[in-house]
């Protein structure tokens, strides 16, 4: 069984992540997921691939802290966070957040909170590969 917090090169399966989440508890009434995908277009430029670099040990530690905080803050039954690194083609999946709670509102709110916090706090950087050249992405404030 794959762990609940992972950084990996390979793609992931929502069905596998949801099965792992549901295996933990039959009290789960609502599961929310967020999946970030590589768009083929960004700020007016065509994007063919996105390449990710991570400070792996710190990123994993921060994702585990996020998991603990979310479980506490939203009374989740469980949550899973998976982020890919390496090269991801346009249209492919980048990141998955899955949250399970007794009721729907905390699951959905926790999912939103987690992806917002992940973008702020987890040391991962993306570079867009375009036909006009490559460029590291500078996040908007």
């Amino acid at each position: 069984m794959l762990g609940p917090v992972r950084i990996q090169i390979e793609d992931f399966s929502s069905d596998d992540e949801l099965a792992a989440l549901r295996a933990g508890s039959q009290r789960i009434g609502g599961i929310a997921t967020f999946i970030g995908c590589a768009r083929d277009f960004s700020e007016g430029r065509e994007v063919s691939r996105i390449s990710f670099d991570a400070y792996g040990s710190m990123a994993l530690a921060e994702m585990n802290r996020l998991r603990d905080e979310a479980i506490e803050k939203f009374s989740l039954l469980d949550t899973r966070l998976v982020h890919r690194v390496g090269s991801v083609g346009a249209g492919e999946q980048i990141v998955l957040i899955a949250t399970g709670a007794e009721h729907r509102a905390p699951a959905l709110e926790a999912c939103h909170w987690l992806i917002d916090e992940l973008k702020q706090r987890v040391p991962i950087w993306k570079k867009e590969i375009t036909p006009q050249g490559d460029a590291w992405v500078t996040p908007h404030p």
Binding site: D53, Y55, M58, A59, P123, W125, W136
Partner: protein
């Protein structure tokens, strides 16, 4: 030894992902930062966050220990 790590856009500018600096007693984070900033001014314009042993810090007076790992990082853009 102090281990220095660079990632993403900063690593691309420095043209190296990792380097080592000699540790000396009384060494503080600002000593390392200003030493590197002088050599890699371009790269350090991108630096927004510093982590010592995987924990973010803004305390430039922080005393270092032999074996510490310091990352100078651009704004995160994962997710």
């Amino acid at each position: 030894m102090i281990r220095i790590l660079f990632f993403g856009p900063v690593a691309e500018q420095v043209a190296v992902r990792e380097m080592q600096l000699e540790f000396h007693a009384g060494m503080r984070l600002m000593d390392v930062a200003s030493h590197l900033q002088a050599r890699y001014a371009e790269a350090f314009r991108l630096v927004s966050f510093i982590a010592v042993n995987s924990l973010q810090t803004k305390d430039m007076q922080l005393g270092l220990s032999d074996g510490d790992e310091i990352a100078f990082m651009a704004k995160f853009s994962g997710g």
